[in-house]
Each structure stands twice: as C-alpha cells, then as structure tokens.
C-alpha cells in the first residue's frame, strides 16, 4: 500500500504540494513512483519558467514507461532539485522527502482545488 503524508495537497495526476509561505514545493507521490517502477530520468523545468496549473511541466521516465508531470498550481519556478538529475532513484527511495521543483505561486487560491491526504487515498484506492 502506497503511503501518503498528512498536511500536503494532492493532485489527480499524482503530484503533491507542500506550502511554504507563498512557495509551493512540488513532488510526485509514493503511489506514482510505485506505478512507474525504477525511475531512470526526471525531466525538470528551468528556473524562471512559468508554469500553469494543469499544464505539463516535466516528465518522469522508467525503463519502459514515461509519464508527464502536471503543475498543481500556477506560478514561476524558483528552484529545481538538481540532485534528481544524477539520482532519479531518490524518488523511488522516498517520494515525499525528495521534491522536484519550487514554485512562487501566482494564485494560492488554486490550492483549494487540490485534495487532502484522505481524499487522495480514496482516489488511489479506486484506480
């Protein structure tokens, strides 16, 4: 059973968001890393890129699958996790301890459209 973490926001496309002031820290869920298998590559945006809620901002690849990443909130990318460039397996080891990007939110109200841990767990149970 994939784990979740209380106090985070979750998207339908399996990203999590941790809020730190006006910055959203974004990663993929344990459920997502589990479904992908051994990750071999994380395609990340560049700092200063504009991302829009619901739009693609990158991708994760395993040996025989690829999945796009969708921004859970809109804003400007302020940091990407460069550690993942050489060690995508960190997401397999602990999906919640390893974030992908940090976004300066342009519309924090968008967070309200995301799920909490319980709602996300319920959604995954149906997949």
């Amino acid at each position: 059973m994939a784990k979740t973490v209380e106090g985070l926001y979750y998207s339908e496309s399996h990203e999590w968001v941790k809020v730190d002031g006006n910055v959203a820290i974004v990663g993929i869920t344990d459920f997502a890393q589990h479904a992908m298998g051994d990750l071999s590559y994380v395609d990340m945006p560049e700092v200063d890129d504009e991302v829009e809620a619901g739009e693609e901002f990158g991708a994760v690849e395993s040996v025989k699958a690829a999945s796009d990443l969708f921004a859970p909130v809109s804003g400007t990318v302020v940091e990407v996790n460069e550690e993942l460039e050489d060690a995508p397996e960190l997401l397999n080891e602990d999906a919640f301890a390893n974030w992908i990007m940090k976004v300066e939110m342009s519309d924090p109200a968008e967070l309200e459209k995301l799920m909490d841990a319980a709602a996300y767990e319920a959604m995954c149970a149906n997949e």
């Binding site: 590559y41 040996v63 025989k64 699958a65 690829a66």
Partner: protein, 458 residues
C-alpha cells in the same frame, strides 16, 4: 504442385483443421463478410520458378545502361570491400528481428554499439541513434528535435546550400508538423553568415541547419556560426558526409549541437537510391530528444558485459501520441554495413579514400577547365565533388558523356554542373573523358555518336 515456401501437406492441413474444429480453410474466414471475400483471379503473372525469375530480372536488367559514375549530389560511388556483403548476408544478422530480446540479440546490439562509437567519433558528438532511413529524413528529424529541445521557438532556418532533396523532405515534414521554415541564401557559393544573423535577430529560431559540404561541393567555413546561433538560444545543426569527416573539421569542432546526414558514402552501393543509412547524432544534453533506437552497455545477472536497447521511454511505442518522432524500423543492417566498412578502413584507410578522391577531383577539375567547355563557378575549397559553369548546353554535355558511358554534369542550378571523383577513378579514366570532350569541342557536342563504354569499371 507443392510450393517451396509452404510446408503444409494435405494431411497436415486436414489434421490442423480437425484440431481447430472446422471443415475447410475458408471456414477460418467465417467472421469476414461474404461480400468482401475476393473471388476473382488475381491480376498477377503465373508463378515462376527460381530459374524463370532469374531470367526475368536479367531481361529487365538489360533495359538499364550501366554508366561510369562521375556524379555525387548525395550518392557517392565509393568502393565497397568484398568482406562486407559476406558479413551482412549472414542470416543471423539478415533474418533477425529488432533486438527486443537482448539475450538472443547480442550480435545486433553489439554492432549497433560499435556503430554508435564510430559515428560519434567521426562527427565529434556524444550520442547517436542506431540509424535513420536516409540523410533527408534524418535532417527532417533533426528539425523536429530542435523544436522539441528548445522552448518557445517557432522557426527553423535552412541554408540554401543544402542538397535540394534534403530541403524538399524537410519542407514536407515542416508543413505537416507545423514548423515554420526560413531560408539563408548562399553568397559566393557558401551559406551567408550575414544573412543568418539577420534571420536570427528575430529571436524565434529553434535551430539552424547548414551543410558541412554544400550542394556545390564546397567545404563550408562555419566559423562563428555556433556562437551566433547559441546567442539566440537556438541549436546549430550540420548536415554532413561522414566519409569526409575522417579528414575535414568535424561538426563537433565547429560547435554544432546536432549532426545529421547519410552514411551511404561509407561504401554503401548506389543501388538506385536505397537502402542507404541516415544518421543523427547530438550532444549528450539532447539525448532524451534523440529519436529512434539507442543501445547502451550494461551487465547481466552474472556480471557479464552485455548490451541492450536503452532510454526507450523516448520512443514512439511508449510515448504514442506524445511522441516527437514515429520512427521504429530503421536501416539496421545498413548500419552494420557501414560499421564493417569503417572497421576495414580504419582511420588511415578512410583518410586514403579522401586523399585519393581529393586528388582525383582536383585533377578532373583542372583538366575540364583546360577543355574550354567550362569556367569556374566559385573559387572555394572542395573535397571530392565540385561545380563548374558549363559553356555549352548542359543537355548536350550530358548526352556526350553518356555516349562514352559516363554519368556526370548533373545540373545543380541552371548552367552549373556537378562532377564527383572517388578513389575508384584513375588518371587514365579522367584523361579519356577529357580527351574525348576535347575532340568533341570543335564539332557540336550534340549529335555525337555513341562510342560504347570507353571507361571500364576497375
């Protein structure tokens, strides 16, 4: 009468139908609407035996006129060592499927790894795929790769010095793929650096595709090109002849990001245009956008060195509608062809091929000018092919050459003709052509009578 490719005896068919539980072969098509079953006779010839097929193709072949080749323009008559056809016709290579089961495909996987090592060495790039269809489609894929690798760019620039068939294929892909193209004209026979700067200034350029050796045969001096393109966050792409890269400055040295072209020049027979073998190579930061199959080294569970198709998440069968390329089958056996060629030649052999082609081409160039039938079109360095301005009607010139069994003087632009010399051409061959043209000079070139094949193949 039994047919060689169908092993089924009547009894076999009977037993198999019984196991399936149907009465006749036609019953196996019971789910097909009756009105789409084709019942008429097929409009095909009667079945032939091997002997008859051979005779038939020999008759067809007589309708071809073999010519001594002094033409380049994207297909080069380099010699193909005898070893190669023997190796590539080994059925373990020839009749194998794509190496999706690496445990029984190490032969294919390993030659692709060797091919990748050699092509990256020639081009000065970090990565290449297992091959593309041909040079022109490789250029189209390079264009799409540049679009996928850059952000918020809408246009790709093509040099007008590229071979016309390459430009047309790139234009076709661009039209349907939704890429806007711009063109950089040539000045004095080379891609205009100034015109490129003007186009780049718009800031919307994803990539610029220029030839290493252009359609006039001129070796382009790409000084400053990479810096100018990179300054606008675009990619420099070079269309190259891999044979020439054994000696001329590599796209890697020029600062290119992507290199494409046709490896036909590495000893692949002319074969009326195919099968050839395109290549596409790039710097490692772009490998995730590189289309097609790629082989990587790894080890098996016992720790043995082994090779496998890798980075497959890029590929069409996984990305489906998100794919930026649809290539799957490529020209794998031809990649083996050129791998064996490069192994035989080595760095010194490939240098000699270029040295002999260079020397012969310059000899022909100078002797043709002496005939008074031509004048220089450009005064720029060339390798094995060159362009002259014809002072006589081009068609007459071509006809005259054909009279002595020579194919050359193909028109690149009105009045400008191409000649190409490879290591297969001797001084005697060239002297024979030139003295024939000198003799024809007084009379009209048109109306020359067929003199048979003055030049025998070596």
């Amino acid at each position: 009468m039994a047919f060689a490719y169908f092993p089924h005896t009547e009894d076999d068919v009977r037993q198999m139908l019984d196991r399936i539980g149907v009465g006749t072969l036609e019953d196996l098509y019971s789910d097909v609407p009756k009105d789409v079953i084709y019942r008429e006779e097929y409009d095909l010839p009667d079945a032939m035996s091997e002997h008859e097929v051979r005779q038939y193709f020999e008759e067809l072949a007589e309708q071809n006129i073999p010519l001594f080749c002094l033409c380049g323009l994207g297909a080069y008559d380099h010699y193909s060592p005898a070893v190669i056809p023997h190796i590539i016709s080994r059925s373990e290579y020839l009749t194998a499927y794509t190496p999706y089961q690496p445990e029984v495909s190490q032969g294919t996987l390993r030659y692709i790894f060797e091919y990748q090592s050699m092509i990256t060495g020639l081009t000065g790039m970090d990565c290449t795929n297992a091959s593309m269809y041909d040079g022109a489609t490789a250029a189209a894929e390079a264009m799409m790769m540049a679009m996928a690798s850059t952000k918020k760019k809408t246009r790709v620039l093509l040099s007008e010095g590229l071979l016309p068939q390459v430009v047309k294929v790139v234009q076709t892909y661009a039209k349907f793929n939704g890429v806007e193209l711009g063109f950089i004209p040539c000045q004095d026979g080379v891609t205009s650096y100034g015109a490129m700067l003007t186009e780049l200034a718009a800031g919307d350029v994803a990539g610029v595709l220029v030839p290493g050796i252009n359609k006039y045969g001129i070796i382009e001096d790409l000084t400053g090109f990479a810096d100018a393109v990179h300054a606008q966050k675009g990619l420099l792409m070079v269309y190259s002849d891999p044979s020439s890269l054994a000696v001329i400055k590599t796209p890697g040295e020029w600062g290119a990001d992507i290199v494409c072209g046709d490896s036909q020049s590495l000893g692949v027979p002319l074969c009326y245009g195919g099968p050839y073998v395109g290549f596409l190579a790039c710097r490692k930061e772009h490998v995730r956008k590189l289309p097609g199959r790629i082989v990587g080294a790894t080890k098996d569970v016992d720790g043995k060195r082994a090779y496998v198709l890798t980075l497959q998440a890029r590929e069409q069968h996984i990305r489906r509608e998100k794919a930026t390329s649809n290539i799957c089958s490529n020209q794998s056996l031809m990649a083996l062809y050129v791998t064996v060629y490069m192994s035989l030649m080595g760095p010194s052999g490939l240098r000699e091929v270029n040295e002999l082609s260079y020397g012969g081409a310059h000899y022909l160039h100078d002797r043709l000018l002496e005939t008074g039938l031509f004048e220089k079109a450009f005064d720029k360095p060339f390798l094995k092919e060159f362009t002259l301005k014809s002072l006589v009607p081009v068609e007459a010139l071509q006809d005259a050459l054909q009279m002595i069994g020579v194919f050359g003087a193909v028109e690149v632009e009105p009045g400008l003709v191409n000649f190409c010399v490879t290591e297969k051409v001797s001084k005697e061959n060239i002297d024979a052509v030139v003295s024939y043209l000198l003799n024809e000079n007084g009379t009209s070139l048109r109306g020359a009578e067929r003199r048979g094949n003055l030049l025998k193949e070596e």
